[in-house]
Symmetry: C2
Subunit: 337 residues, 2 copies
C-alpha cells in the first residue's frame, strides 16, 4: 500500500522491464500468459492504479469536460448539470464545474484556466452580463485553441459552435395562446432574468401572440431580490391584469406569493404560467403550471454532443438541436375545454 505506485516500481519488484508491465496490464498478446498473470496479480494486491497524469500527457486528452453555468441554485441549471453528470459518467468522462455567477469576468477567468489543456471540451450557458454586453472575445479564445464548445440554453447565434436550446419563442407564444384560449385578455409578461437570450426570446414569443390577437401588451422587469409587490397589487386592484407569464421558476413563485399576499385568488383572479419544471413550482400551493424545458435532457444532450464532437462523430458544420417542449397544466391556470 505504498503511496504512488508506478510502472517502474512494479517492474523492479518483478524483475522485468517497464514496458513488459505496461503491456501485461493492458492484456497485450505479446506477453506470455505466465508473466501476464504474475504482473496482474501483483498489481492487484498492491492496488496499482495507473497515473492519469502520465496518460493525459501521452494522449493529450483528459477525458474531462468543463462546464460553465451562471448559477447552481436555480433548478434549471442544477438539473441540467445532473443530466450532464449522468451522461458523462456513463461515457467515462469527468466534469470540471465552474459557476460564473452571471459575471463576465468570472466567466473569462474560468475559460482561461480551462483552455490550458485541463479539459477536452467546454459546455457553457452564457452569463447575463456576457449576453447583455455581447462580449464574445473569450469564446473566440476557446475556438482558437481548437477546444470543442457547446452552448446550451443561453445561446448566441453568432458563435460558430454546436448548440442546444429549447424553442423559447414558440413555447412562450404557445403559453400565451393557451392563456388566451382560457379567456384571459390582460396578459402580462414578467421577468426576473432580464438581458438573457432566453428572456428575450420568450418575451418576443409573448409579444407576437398578444399582437396576433389584438390584445394589449404589458412587460414588467424586476429584480428577484426586490419584487415590485405594490405595482402588482395596483394592477390587480384596478383589474388591469388577469394572467402572467413568468420568465423563470423563481419569478413565477414570487408572483404567486405576491398575489396571494395581496388577497387575490389564483387562478380565479389571475392565471400564472412559468418556465422550468422544478421542485418549487411542483410543491407550491397552488402548484405552478409551467413550460417543461426538459432540463435534464438538455444536459444529457449537451454532454453527448460535445463528446461526439471530440470523437469526430459529428459533421464539420455546427449542429443546433432545438428541443421540443410541452406545457404542464397544474393549478395556477384556469381550465379550458
Amino acid at each position: 500500500m505504498d503511496k504512488n505506485l508506478t510502472l517502474k516500481e512494479l517492474a523492479k519488484l518483478l524483475n522485468v522491464s517497464i514496458s513488459t508491465v505496461s503491456k501485461a496490464l493492458s492484456g497485450s498478446p505479446e506477453i506470455s500468459l505466465e508473466t501476464k498473470e504474475r504482473v496482474q496479480t501483483l498489481a492487484k494486491t498492491l492496488n496499482y492504479v495507473p497515473n492519469s497524469l502520465g496518460r493525459n500527457l501521452k494522449f493529450s486528452q483528459t477525458k474531462t469536460i468543463g462546464v460553465i453555468i451562471p448559477d447552481i441554485l436555480s433548478h434549471f441549471f442544477a438539473k441540467a448539470l445532473y443530466g450532464m453528470e449522468l451522461m458523462a459518467s456513463e461515457l467515462g468522462y469527468k466534469i470540471i464545474i465552474a459557476i460564473s455567477n452571471d459575471s463576465l469576468n468570472k466567466e473569462r477567468d474560468s475559460i482561461q484556466t480551462l483552455i490550458s489543456g485541463s479539459v477536452d471540451g467546454i459546455i457553457m450557458s452564457l452569463s447575463q452580463e456576457t449576453q447583455a454586453k455581447m462580449e464574445i472575445e473569450h469564446l473566440k479564445d476557446v475556438l482558437d485553441h481548437q477546444i470543442p464548445l457547446v452552448l446550451f440554453d443561453r445561446v448566441l447565434s453568432i458563435i460558430p459552435c454546436d448548440k442546444i436550446s429549447i424553442n423559447d419563442f414558440t413555447q412562450a407564444e404557445q403559453a400565451t395562446m393557451e392563456l388566451i384560449d382560457a379567456g384571459c385578455n390582460k396578459i402580462t409578461y414578467m421577468t426576473g432574468i432580464p438581458n438573457t437570450s432566453v428572456d428575450d426570446q420568450r418575451k418576443q414569443g409573448y409579444l407576437n401572440a398578444v399582437k396576433k390577437f389584438g390584445l394589449p401588451k404589458q412587460v414588467i422587469k424586476f429584480d428577484q431580490k426586490n419584487f415590485p409587490h405594490a405595482i402588482l397589487k395596483d394592477l390587480l386592484q384596478q383589474n388591469k391584469i388577469d394572467a402572467a407569464i413568468a420568465a423563470d421558476e423563481l419569478s413565477a413563485i414570487l408572483i404567486m406569493k405576491s398575489v396571494i399576499q395581496s388577497g387575490f385568488i389564483i387562478p380565479d383572479d389571475i392565471s400564472i404560467i412559468g418556465f422550468t419544471n422544478g421542485i418549487m413550482g411542483e410543491n407550491f400551493l397552488p402548484s405552478l403550471s409551467t413550460v417543461d424545458q426538459h432540463e435534464e435532457k438538455q444536459g444529457c444532450l449537451a454532454m453527448e454532443t460535445i463528446i461526439a464532437r471530440i470523437q469526430g462523430k459529428l459533421p464539420e458544420t455546427p449542429v443546433h438541436y432545438k428541443l421540443k417542449t410541452s406545457i404542464i397544466h397544474r393549478e395556477s391556470t384556469r381550465n379550458y375545454s
Copy 2:
C-alpha cells in the same frame, strides 16, 4: 493562432532554446531584459497558454479537488457546492464534481476515477447507502493513496480524516425545546431522509429533548416520492400532533402542503420547523421556520480545509470543525415570548 502552441514552437520561432523561453515567461532574473520582452510579447500576440498537462506531470499535482455529493437538486448540497466553488476559484483550484445519487456503487466508481491522480484531494458527503451499510473500504482506498480527504455534513466518525459538520444533535434538541416553549406538547419527528448520519443525530436530539420534558415521542419515516398524507391527516384530526420537526427542507415543504390540503392551519393547528435555509422554505406560504445550516459556509470551510491540508498547513491529527448554527423564526411556528 495555432492550435496548441508549445514552448518548443515558441523557441524555434525566436531562435532561442526552450529553457530560455520557459525562464523568460516566468520572469526569471537570469534572462536579459531584452530577450525577456521579445519572448513575452510574442507569447502574448500568439496567445500562448502553458499546457497544464505538462506542469501537472512535472509537479504531480493538478490544482483540482474532487467533490462527491449525494445529490445536486437539494438546496443544501447545491449551496454547499456553491461555497466550495467560490473558495476554490479564489485559491486557484478547480472542482471535479461527481454525484453519487445516494448509491454506493456510483460513489465507489467516482472515487476510483479520482484516485488515479486527477485530483489533489477529495471532499465528500456520504451517500445514504454507504451510511446505511457502513461500507467504507473505498474510503480507505483514498487514504491509502495518500489523497487528502474531507468529509462534510454526512460524516462517519470512524474514518480518520478531516471533517466539517454542524451539530445536528444540539440543533434538533434546541429546535424541539423552542417548540415546547411555544406550548407544543405533541411533537413529531418526520423524516424523508432516513438512514443518514444527519437524520440519525437530529432524531436523537429530538428524542433527547422530548424525553427530558416527559413528552411522548413519535417518529414518522417516509419516502419523499410517496408522502403519507392520510396518516398525517388522521393524526391532525385526532389531535395527536401539534408540531413537527422535519429532517430536511423538502420534507418540511411536503408536510406543510399536506397539512394545508387537509384543511388545517399553520401554525395555529400545527407548528413546523425544518432544516436548511433554502429558497423553497423562504418562499412558501407560510414561510418555513428552519435551522440554518450555513450550507455555503460549510462548503467554503470544507474547501479551505482540504487545501490547507494539501499544503501541509494543518496539524497531523485530523481536525473536525463543528459549525454553530442558529434557528430562523418565520411563519410556520407560533410566536413565543
